[in-house]
Symmetry: C2
Subunit: 348 residues, 2 copies
C-alpha cells in the first residue's frame, strides 16, 4: 500500500460492479469534480496495475491524496458468501473491510456482491451493541417527497426485533441523507392497515413500535399505495420484500420511461412536441433519478459501509462516495444506542 496519508480516508473496493474498474474510477473522478470540499483522502483497493493505469488518465485524481491498496483477488457477483469468506481473503472487498476494521479507513464503498458485503461486514466488523442484524437502507426519489426504504436486502427474514432496529436506524439515516431538521415519519409496510392484518412479525413489531414512539416518530402501518403520498418518510420492511420492491420500482420506472421515449419518436408531430416539451422530460430526469442516491448504507455495523448498485453509473458512484464521507463523519452511536436500548427493553 502506497499510503500518503490516511486521515479521514475512505477505502473503495474498485473491483466491484458491472462496469469494472474504469466505471468506478470515473465515478471517483466525478465526485472530486462535483464535491471537491467533501471528498477527502482515498484508498483505492484492487489490482494495483489496473488502478495505476486508470489513475494516470485522470489529472484530477492525480492531484488528490490517493493511496492504493493492492488486492490480488476480486469477488464476482455470483460468488457465495461462505466460499468467498474462505477462498477470497485477499479480495478487494474484504481488504477494504479490513482497512475499516483497523481504523486505517473511516468508511468503505463497494459496488460489489451484496451478500458477500453483508457477510464479510458482519463477521469482521461485528454489530453495534444491541443490534442483531445489519440492514441496507436506500432513498427512493419521488416527486412529492423522498423516502427511505429499509431493509432492501441485507436480512431477508426479519424478526420483530430487527423490524424495530430498522425503524430506529432508518429514522437516523433519513436525517443524514434527506433532511437533517425533520422528525421523520416512520411507517411499517404491510397489507391492509387494519389491526390484525399482515404477518405475525409485522403485527408484533407494530405493537412494540407504538410503545417507543417517543424515541422515533412512528405513524403506524402503511400500505404500498401510500408510499408516494406525503405521509411517510421512512418505510420499514424485511429485506425480502424491500429488495423485490426496490428492483421492481426501478424496472417499472425504466419501462415507462422507455415506452414514452419510443412513443414520442413515432411520428413527426410527436418529435416536435417532444422538443417543445423537452423541459418537462429534463425535469423528470432531474427529479426522479436514483443516481443522486446511488449509495445504500449497510447500517448497524461498527463502521460506515456503503453499497452501491452493481450497475451504478459514474454519477451514482460519485454520489455514493459523497454519502460515504458524510456518514463516516457522523457519530451515530449515541443516537442509536438510546433508542435501541429502550426498544430492546420493551421487546424483552
Amino acid at each position: 500500500m502506497h499510503a500518503r496519508s490516511n486521515e479521514q480516508a475512505v477505502a473503495i473496493d474498485v473491483m466491484g460492479g458491472d462496469g469494472g474498474v474504469p466505471r468506478v474510477m470515473s465515478g471517483i473522478a466525478l465526485a472530486v469534480k462535483l464535491f471537491p470540499e467533501e471528498i477527502g483522502n482515498l484508498i483505492l483497493v484492487g489490482d494495483e496495475r489496473e488502478i495505476s493505469g486508470q489513475l494516470l488518465r485522470s489529472k484530477r485524481l492525480l492531484e488528490k491524496n490517493i493511496a492504493i491498496c493492492h488486492a490480488s483477488q476480486a469477488i464476482d457477483m455470483s460468488e457465495k458468501p461462505m466460499c468467498a469468506l474462505r477462498y477470497k481473503k485477499d479480495s478487494s472487498m474484504f481488504k477494504a473491510i479490513g482497512l475499516l476494521k483497523e481504523s486505517r479507513a473511516s468508511g468503505i464503498l463497494s459496488c460489489g456482491n451484496t451478500s458477500c458485503l453483508v457477510a464479510g461486514g458482519t463477521l469482521k466488523l461485528r454489530m453495534m451493541p444491541g443490534i442483531d442484524r445489519p440492514a441496507l437502507a436506500t432513498v427512493i426519489p419521488a416527486p412529492t417527497k423522498h423516502f427511505v426504504l429499509i431493509d432492501v436486502g441485507a436480512n431477508p427474514s426479519t424478526s420483530t426485533r430487527s423490524f424495530i432496529h430498522n425503524a430506529v436506524m432508518g429514522s437516523l439515516y433519513y436525517k443524514t441523507a434527506v433532511n437533517a431538521s425533520a422528525e421523520p415519519r416512520v411507517g411499517l409496510l404491510t397489507i391492509g392497515t387494519e389491526e390484525g392484518k399482515g404477518s405475525e412479525s409485522v403485527r408484533e413489531a407494530h405493537d412494540t413500535l407504538k410503545k417507543i414512539s417517543g424515541e422515533i416518530n412512528y405513524i403506524g402501518l402503511v400500505e404500498g399505495f401510500q408510499l408516494f403520498d406525503d405521509i411517510v418518510d421512512v418505510v420499514v420492511c424485511d429485506g425480502f420484500v424491500g429488495n423485490i420492491l426496490l428492483k421492481t420500482m426501478e424496472a417499472l420506472a425504466g419501462t415507462i420511461k422507455n415506452y414514452v421515449r419510443a412513443e414520442m419518436k413515432k411520428n413527426f408531430l410527436r418529435i416536435i412536441g417532444g422538443i417543445l416539451a423537452g423541459g418537462a422530460f429534463r425535469a423528470m430526469k432531474r427529479d426522479l433519478t436514483a443516481d443522486k442516491y446511488g449509495g445504500a448504507p449497510l447500517l448497524g455495523l461498527n463502521g460506515t459501509v456503503v453499497k452501491s448498485h452493481g450497475s451504478s453509473s459514474a454519477e451514482a458512484v460519485a454520489h455514493a462516495l459523497r454519502l460515504t464521507f458524510r456518514l463516516s463523519k457522523i457519530s451515530s452511536k449515541n443516537f442509536l444506542s438510546n433508542a435501541i436500548e429502550k426498544a430492546n427493553e420493551l421487546i424483552r
Copy 2:
C-alpha cells in the same frame, strides 16, 4: 328475488366498492354496451330499493335479463372476516357466494372487502381437491408483454405447497385471460437468482417446481428487475409480497403520470408540445391502463369468484364482469387436478 331466468347467470355484489351502488351499476351498464355478446343473465345482490332506483335510470340494463336478490346488510371495507361471518349473514357479499354455492349463479363478482371475500369464499365454497388455500391472480399490463402476478393478497404467508399450487393456477389463468395459445413461462419471485438465496419456502418451492416442469413451463427464479422483460409470463409470490408489489406499482405509475401531467402544463411551450405529442400520451393510457384487467379471480375455490378493486372505475367493473363470465364458462378442474395431483405427490 325476482328471478326471470338464472341460466348462466353471474351474481354481482353491488354494495361493495368505494363508489357505492351507482359506480358498480355504471360498470354493469358499460359491460352490456361494450361486450353485448359476452354478458349473459345477471343477478344483482344488494339493497333492492337502491338497485331498482338505479335500474330505472339505465335503458340498456332494463332490456337485459336481470334478477334482483335483496340483501339487508353490506360489508364495509374495514370489517374483520370473523365478525362479518358471524354478524353479516344477510350481506350482499355472502348472499352472492350463497347463490354460487347453490348453483343458482355460475360465478360472482365483488368490489368489496378482500379478506371477507377470501374467508367467506373458502368457508362456503371449499377448496378444489388437492389445493390448500385460495390465491388472487391479476394481470399486470406492461408495454412489452402482460404478465400474471399471483398471489396478490389472499394468503399472506405461503407454504411451499401453496407456491406450487399458485404456479399451476397462475399458468392456467394466463391462458384464460391473456393468451390461450401460449405455454406461459412461470417464474418464482425471489431476491438474487443464484441457488440458495431467498427464503426457505421459496428455495423448497423452486426445487419442486423444477420437478413438475412437464406440467407447467417453469423457467426458474426471477428477480424484481426482470418482471417487465419478455422472459416471464406468470410471476409467483406469496400474498404479502404480491399485495405490496401490486399496490406500490399502481402508486408509482400514478405518481409518474401525475408528475408528467403537471410538468407538461408548466409553460406555454410545453402545453403546445403536449398537444402535438398527445397521441403518445393517449397510447400510454390505452396500453398501460389496469382497467382492462379490472378483475382478480380468487383461484382454487369450487366456483368462479372474481374480486375487483374497491376503487374500481366503471370501466374496470365492466372488464371484471366480462372476466367473470369467461371464467365461469371454463371447466378448469381437469387441467388443474392433473398438475396439482402430480405436484402434491412430489411434495409428499
